[in-house]
Amino acid sequence: MPDPITIGMLGLLLLFGLLILRMPVGIAMITVGVGGTWVLSLVVGHIRFVPYLRQFKSLLWENVANYDLSVVPLFVLMGYIAAEARLSSDLFKGLEALLSRLRGGVAMAAVAACGGFGAVCGSSLATAATMGKVALPELKALGYSPRLASGALAAGGTLGILIPPSVALVIYAIIVEGSILKMFQAAVLPGLLAVLGFILVIAVLVRLNPTLAPAPRPMEREARRIAIRRLVPVIAIFSAIILGLGFGLFTPTPAASIGVFVITVYGFVLRGVTGEGLTLSGLLSAIRSTAITAGMIYLILFGAEVLKGFFTRTGLPQALSDWAATSGLDPMSVLIIMLVIFIVLGCFMESLAMILVVVPFFWPTLIALNGGDFVTADSAAFGMDNDSLKIWFGILALIVVELGLITPPVGLNVFIISSLAKDTPMATVFRGVLPFLAAEFVRVGLILMIPALTLIVPRLIGH
């Protein structure tokens, strides 16, 4: 008979097998969790299967009846309403008006708008889809090369996951029992760094190969005036949400609620004044989209809870962290190996599922390597206490997880952009994304070498 740890490893393999066979992620997690515990109960005397099953009386309900998690559907709803109320379009048009004098300026505006929209939207896929819909036709009409246009938008879409608010950051904070707010604050600088990096990539590309972008054609005066006038309230709303969150006027759930409220009211007012804005059917359609996204997220979260119960009972996470603590491995190398594993898994796994499956294994290992539960910053292997490590590792993990959205063979952002730009083949989008990917690796390197990039904002605001 195999020992419990072996059963745990077989369970992990089975999980990946079922995922490859296209079993829905949440269902696969529950199947392996319940099935694995059944197998375990045959081998381990004190694990009894029927008493285990009885916890399902309350497990699902208690899992969703969670105040902290309520920010997730609210942030998702906020993003969809902002898109329906055409805030995404106003944002892009306004930035275009500001940047269209530069060569490649409209592509830069698209990337910057992705970053801005990321500030009301918690998901990369939604950011890519929304901004792709708004900006791709414009870029095409202006004569931008499909490679640059689609690459910029697929890469820009990844900003949604890091720039706060972010569903993935909320969930990471909840699994490592960290502060959602601190994670949001820590993500601000790395997020801005990404926007700047992408804009720089566009500037360099069009300098090297001027045929990628058309000669700059400044917008006509009146159109420019209107675009900038409509940009102002959008920027005001988005900054209010970011600042309200970051500087702690509100805790996350109230911030998300107020965000939804303000954007909805603004959308209806805009409709009343200009005839373009939020309609009732737009609101309903935002709600339906939220049902799909939030339903998917909640199922995966519940799956992760079931899976956790199984893995804990096998003793696998504990064995891994004990092994790491006694192996004498170099902590920094282990951290880098973990990030590489994220990138490799990201090639075919959904980002949220990845965080939920992998972080519970990696996090205790990192604490063990750092010097254990009681370590202080002076004696810690990473030179920081566990609270800071939590933040730093979370941001690094989130960035490399988001890279999976634009790496072949499966890059969900690339799929979305290529389905929006019907005449641009997927291979072209993947090629277009490559230079942006290079910028991302530079960013990961910077954040690895300079932890202050992530830690300084929460530290400054915290005191």
Binding site: P24, A65, N66
Partner: protein, 165 residues
């Protein structure tokens, strides 16, 4: 999928969305009271927030979250990984897709079955929320209904062609 199931799933989703909007309304009012309280503090006055606000959000979100599941299933929104299966013959893809739909329906019924016991137990125990003191058991009802509807939607999809097939 029978039209009635599609409509029901849609109604559940919209109702779940309406619950989210209620949370938005209550939270905005609560935050408004909080801001007023901050202002009133300058005049040594107090404006009460809504007591039990967290309890309220927790109960409301438990309904909304699970009510999204059937609509999500109806639109095949529960994510899966498309890497390897794309290259398999269509017959195989359809069979595997059906197997997963069957498993999904079974799992939804499994959850509904245990949640019914959960409701009975929460009622017998007299479990209350901590500040509002509301009984918890009625809030199991939307979840149980959602699980059953989720199972029905998944079963009805068994008859349809495989996704992407």
């Amino acid at each position: 999928m029978p039209v009635i199931l599609g409509r029901l799933a849609d109604a559940f989703a919209v109702l779940g969305g309406a619950i989210l909007l209620i949370i938005v309304g209550v939270t905005t009012a609560n935050a408004g009271a909080f801001i007023l309280d901050r202002i009133a503090a300058f005049f040594s006055a107090d404006v009460a927030g809504l007591p039990g606000y967290e309890d309220f959000v927790q109960l409301m979100i438990s309904g909304a979250a699970l009510m999204f599941f059937p609509y999500c299933q109806a639109h095949r929104g529960h994510v899966s990984v498309d890497l390897f299966m794309e290259r398999m013959p269509q017959v195989l893809r359809r069979q595997i897709d059906r197997a997963w739909l069957g498993l999904t329906a079974g799992m939804a019924l499994f959850l509904a079955y245990w949640m019914i016991y959960g409701l009975i137990e929460a009622r017998a125990d007299g479990v209350l929320t901590s500040v509002l003191g509301w009984p918890v058991w009625p809030f199991y009802l939307p979840g149980i209904a959602s699980m059953i509807l989720w199972a029905l939607v998944a079963m009805s999809q068994l008859g349809e062609g495989a996704r992407h097939a």
